[in-house]
């Protein structure tokens, strides 16, 4: 973070903002402002260059064709890759998560190159679409409470050696690989299949992104009463038999 302003970049709302994932930007922005940070939010459309000086980049889910278009344009633009080289934090969901990997299967059924910012490869699952509430345990190294979210995807994402599973699901499909892993991360880049939006359901993940961007170990507390009530309700709902 330079000149005391936290720069949030919301990537391609014209293509990847279909499942309410812009809530993730709203939650990070709100929680940063509650800590009295000076926040600038920049929405970057797919005909605009991705700035390389952002602190936190967020990418959401989208439909199959927009996903391919987004991958083409992000590869051509190169800004997000340079931002990661500069140390930026990236948090991605669903279609955005797949784009950050080495490759995924596009709407034409072809293998589409991603950005290679996460060591994952995604394919299309053979089984039923994964739809429903998810409950999981986030990698204990991150020191976060249980993960709650809503998944709605057909993808299966395989992790390579330099990507760590973000969570292990207790309920739900997650990466769809059958081993219970959900999402992936490395030091600065995160990916998940969770909607909800996931940062509204898990505000401490938003705080983790802020701490990484600010390079601090702790943040002043904020009133999490409603988040906690929602979390308790959704965690209980996920555990009820369908």
């Amino acid at each position: 973070m330079s000149d005391n302003q936290l720069r949030l970049v919301w990537i391609y709302p014209d293509l990847l903002s279909t499942y309410g994932d812009q809530g993730n930007v709203l939650v990070v922005e709100r929680r940063a402002r509650q800590r009295r940070l000076d926040v600038a939010r920049l929405d970057v459309r797919s005909d605009q260059p991705v700035p390389t000086s952002g602190d936190i980049y967020l990418i959401g889910g989208g439909e199959d064709r927009p996903q391919r278009l987004a991958a083409e344009r992000l590869r051509r633009d190169g800004g997000l890759t340079r931002a990661v080289e500069n140390g930026a934090i990236v948090f991605s969901v669903c279609a955005g998560y797949q784009i950050l990997g080495h490759e995924f299967v596009n709407d034409l059924g072809q293998r589409e190159p991603g950005l290679g910012l996460l060591d994952v490869v995604s394919v299309r699952g053979e089984g039923e679409r994964c739809v429903g509430d998810v409950l999981g345990d986030i990698d204990p190294r991150l020191g976060l409470p249980p993960l709650t979210g809503f998944e709605n995807h057909q993808g299966v994402t395989h992790l390579g050696p330099t990507a760590r599973p973000f969570a292990q699901v207790r309920i739900g499909k997650g990466n769809g690989t059958g081993d219970g892993t959900e999402g992936a991360y490395n030091d600065t880049v995160f990916g998940t299949y969770m909607h909800g939006p996931v940062l509204a359901r898990n505000p401490l993940i938003a705080d983790l992104l802020l701490k990484l961007a600010l390079d601090v170990n702790a943040l002043p507390p904020v009133d999490d009463r409603w988040y906690e009530a929602l979390r308790n309700e959704r965690i209980a709902a996920a555990q009820q038999p369908a």
Binding site: T18, Q22, G23, R65, F150, W226, Y227, L230
Partner: protein
């Protein structure tokens, strides 16, 4: 044209009778109108029944993400100037409900039929409509309905083979993309507040440019067609350039847009716009929507909004601050079980209004409003919300099953 030259086959008559008997039994058992179950039984006995019933009618289909029930009512009222109408006025908009509604109107000249977006292609094939009105397409229940652009693609394929006159909103790029496969389109500039499902060109994927009311794609040239009808404030402009005043009891810009599309449809069947618009004034509440009810000594206006585009239009018609607003959201099967869409709604538009939150998913709303920096109270039920609301008419905005719950609660 409509006529009685083709009496129903004995099998079709049996199917109609059996369907009505089952519907009556369902009503008697207190399970709603019985129209869907009755239609299902009838279709099982005669799978071609919908087509046979439609043969005798001039069929008008109405489809959209939002406004189809209301527009169906407006068109039905307008066309009654030209002859008897049968219609699925209660919003049972899938094939069984439609079959059941048509079976009840053997003397009608017109069949004005609301069709669920996902069933438009099939119903258009079965009923050989004279006219199809397409109002808008936007994200709705993504956990079960699939992708919005795929729906437009599905419409596009169906309309390519239809002989119907298409009356379509030229301000919605997805609707234009769907309708332009037909050689016979009447474009209506009905407007559209929600734009977030069409920033990407439906034709080529290019980034859409949207200056003012225009829209176009720089890459492939796909652009807004020139309308022959238009909504202009409180008036409908007809193809001759005459402006006709809209008098509606229904509130809001979206309903004026529905009236403009309805006037264009009525004109296809020879009903002039002034006659059509005058008749539309008779439409009050539609299946409880927009109804003002008295409850616990207070006036409550019941507003249905099911998806981000619907909430956006609804926020534009509610009373200004400090009018109290009750928000109710469920996520049962008919609502879609994913509440993420709440984050595509801009709740900062409610600033200055006392807010009360209800429904199965009130906690999702609470977090949403907290992040939007709004003041709100989470309530156990409607009674508590009404008791705590400051004076003035209370606007109640609810999604589908939450709306049904509220109607039952207030005895509407």
């Amino acid at each position: 044209m409509a006529g009685n030259s083709d009496p129903l086959t004995p099998r079709a008559k049996l199917a109609v009778t059996a369907g009505k008997a089952v519907a009556a039994a369902s009503r008697a058992a207190g399970r709603g109108s019985g129209s869907v179950i009755g239609g299902r039984v009838a279709l099982k006995l005669d799978p071609d029944l919908l087509g046979r019933l439609a043969q005798h009618l001039d069929v008008i289909l109405v489809s959209a993400t939002n406004g189809k029930t209301t527009t169906t009512r407006l068109i039905a009222e307008a066309l009654r100037a030209a002859g008897p109408v049968v219609s699925n006025a209660l919003g049972a908009n899938m094939p069984a409900g439609i079959t059941s509604a048509l079976a009840g109107g053997s003397d009608a000249k017109f069949g004005v039929i609301e069709v669920d977006e996902k069933y438009l292609a099939g119903v258009a094939r079965d009923t050989a409509p004279k006219c199809i009105a397409l109002l808008n397409l936007s994200r709705d229940q993504l956990d079960r309905a699939g992708e919005t652009r795929m729906l437009a693609e599905n419409w596009r394929e169906a309309l390519a083979g239809s002989k119907a006159v298409i009356v379509a909103n030229c301000d919605d790029p997805l609707v234009v993309w769907a309708a332009s496969s037909s050689p016979n389109v009447i474009w209506v500039a009905a407007g559209q507040m929600w734009k977030d499902d069409a920033w990407s060109c439906p034709s080529c994927g290019g980034v859409m440019q949207r200056p003012d009311d225009e829209w176009f794609c720089n890459e492939c040239g796909f652009r807004r067609p020139t309308p022959s009808w238009a909504l202009n404030g409180d008036h409908v402009l007809d193809p001759h350039g005459s402006a006709w005043p809209i008098h509606l009891q229904l509130p809001g810009r979206a309903n004026k847009a529905n009236a403009a599309s309805s006037a264009a449809v009525a004109a296809v069947f020879g009903v002039p716009p002034q006659v059509a618009l005058e008749r539309m004034y008779q439409v009050q509440a539609v299946a409880g929507r927009y109804d003002v009810v008295q409850y616990q000594g207070r006036d409550l206006r019941l507003l249905l909004a099911k998806n981000p585009a619907g909430w956006l239009e609804t926020f534009s018609l509610i009373d200004p601050p400090p009018a109290p607003v009750i928000l109710a959201v469920n996520a049962r099967g008919a609502d879609g079980t994913d509440t993420s869409w709440l984050w595509d709604v801009d709740y900062t538009r409610l600033t200055g209004r006392p807010l009360f939150v209800l429904g199965d998913r009130k906690l999702d709303l609470a977090v949403r409003l907290e992040v939007a920096n709004q003041q709100f109270q989470v309530c156990d039920d409607l009674d508590q919300a009404v008791q705590q609301a400051p004076p003035g008419r209370i606007e109640v905005i609810a999604n589908y099953t939450a709306f049904q719950d509220l109607r039952r609660r207030v005895g509407n």
